[in-house]
Amino acid sequence: MITVVMPAHLRTLAGVSGDVTIEVDGEVTLRSILDALETQYPMLRGTIREHVSGERRPFLRFFACGEDITHESPDAPLPQEIASGAEPFYVVGAIAGG
């Protein structure tokens, strides 16, 4: 099970109050995590990645094991700590607006 930490607004949309856990079939990558997250919580489709292009929304970033993986390949394998659930995968909203 993979633990995903999301911004408060996305938790509200998903109807959850804390971190969520998801299962990923196959290799654990940025793309496979987001695919599984959107499958389990379809109300989040379009909120993290744009519907048509699939591009990350510009004010969101992704972190794994303390590393900013936002600009890494979405198909690169993530650390075992993420895949095992020992470390959470973070979706982080940029602080913007002053």
Partner: protein, 395 residues
Amino acid sequence: MSNVQVLVGTRKGAFILTSDGKREKWDVSGPHFAGWEIYHVKGSPADSNRLYASQTSGWFGQIIQRSDDGGKTWFQPGTPAGEPTTTPEGMPVGESNKFVYDDSAETGKPLTTHQFYDGTAKPWVFKRVWHLEPALDDADTVYAGVEDAALFRSTNGGQTWAELPGLRGHGTGAQWQPGAGGMCLHSIILDHQNRERIFVAISAAGAFRSDDSGATWKPINRGLHSQYIPDPTAEVGHCVHHIAQHPANSNVLFMQKHWDVMRSDDAGDSWTEVSGNLPTDFGFVIDVHAHEPETIYVVPIKSDGEHYPPDGKLRVYRSRTGGNEWEALTKGLPQENCYVNVLRDAMAVDSLDSCGVYFGTTGGQVYASADAGDTWAPIVRDLPAVLSVEVQTWP
């Protein structure tokens, strides 16, 4: 006992204000969708318990929300609360937040470019829903005016959306350009008398009309004069801020343009200026009395560079002659040091015998008049900046 419900969209959530027919004491519920920009909330004429809301965010994009109990509870219609979020095969259910321009060979139009502020060509990119207009006689049918400008329709209660591509693709799209707020389709009027007729307005392109339920469109901007564009009388390119129609006289339309207040007596085929004695004819809102087709309301704003009332005095202007002759309505409104704006979708009327008029400001006040504008009082004073105001009436 009659009731009124005012639906308020703000920069940080939605609020629902309710009162009886006296409209003196109000209950306030909200914020709904706290922290999100709520561009518009509107109720269905066919089912007063059915509401639609446009929830949007620079971080997370567009969300469509729906209520089936008059605003008490909400859900994303593609993913109903309490139901499985995926099909038995594991696929996500309806995608109520998905707005995709139709560029299919069968029904769509190839995506062209539109003009940017500097005259360069930009591709259409969906940004948000500005206005939701439920159909007159079917609660599950609702239209969405979006940025970049296009018209979408859902026929399943907001679960999925399809573009009406005849508007964006009718031929002038490449000349459209954004106004200061973006290239948005902000006004949708479904004609009560001619059910196949739809009016829309786009900033900064102008007004458009369909006479076949949205399949084909034509610009209706003859008579508009905009000195800020290269050809002041061009077929498109005008920054129309809002249009309004009286349901009992649907060929008569009123328009608040960037500058100029206009009227049309032929369903938009031609327009004449009716700014008359207004202190300034810049503004955003315009609306029509529920029972008097020639009584109209505007809120003059000083200029496009100074988005606040002239002289720091918040005044609604009313014309009982369909324009040209205007009177200032000031009782109960601040007459000194007031520098708020009233945005294009932030005025509405109720349909009680003594017509109620409502508007919201960027300072967070929502003002109400239960006597057609003669006197005003704030329902609330300290909401986030108000983006939209709509009214539901139970006689």
